[in-house]
Assembly symmetry: C2
Homo-oligomer: 132 residues x 2
């Protein structure tokens, strides 16, 4: 699903590369990191990663960071992404997080309308520096 | 230093609030989370938080997320912020991180010129949803 994406297609490798499994195991072992999958008929049709970031600001409150939101091609247009993000918001609120945050590539215009409609505000610039 | 900031002043509480210490202890115990301080003459003049985020994409590579960059009022204009961020970039590269990322409030125009000059690209929208 990571590779089945206009941006992701250029940067992924062999799914059997052991580095993927090592990253999975680290996330799985980290109490503040969750990989969420949506399943239908035993098949994974959506994924996202939630990380609960500690911080000193805002009275030491946690933030929930959403990364790597992907919906399988055959499941798009059915509102699954909306249900996933709403689920993440509800989960963050139940944990007592002060904020949910994510960044979205500026070329993904549809995604921006989607996050706007869920109550997010594009209040920040999302800066990235790729290390060579 | 969190409160000595146009945005931070509105959202911080009593520095002795035990929630600050609890958040500090969590960060201190987390191997993927670092609070960095810059000192001069035994006084803290700059802080930032580095979190090494696991992820499955890009061959399971880590990203270094920078949060909570603050420079004390009496130390501004001396290039300390630049040295701190460059230090963070060097540290992330030495760890093998694929990327350094951060978000910056769209009202902080000076900060944007600063991050642009350090090689960052404002390629993403930074979405936030404050939970009430």
């Amino acid at each position: 699903m990571l590779a089945d994406d206009p941006l992701g297609a250029q940067r992924e490798g062999d799914p059997n590369d052991p580095r993927y499994m090592a990253a999975f195991e680290r996330i799985d072992a980290d109490p503040w990191d969750e990989l969420i999958v949506a399943e239908r008929d035993g098949k994974v049709i959506g994924t996202m990663q939630l990380t609960y970031l500690a911080g000193l600001s805002r009275l030491g409150s946690e933030r929930c960071q959403i990364e790597a939101v992907r919906v399988a091609a055959q499941a798009r247009g059915e509102g699954l992404g909306r249900r996933m993000i709403q689920w993440a918001i509800d989960r963050a609120r139940a944990r007592g997080c002060a904020m949910v945050q994510l960044t979205s590539d500026k070329t993904r215009r549809d995604a921006h309308r989607f996050y706007d409609s869920l109550g997010f505000t594009a209040s920040h610039e999302g800066y990235k520096l790729t290390l060579g």
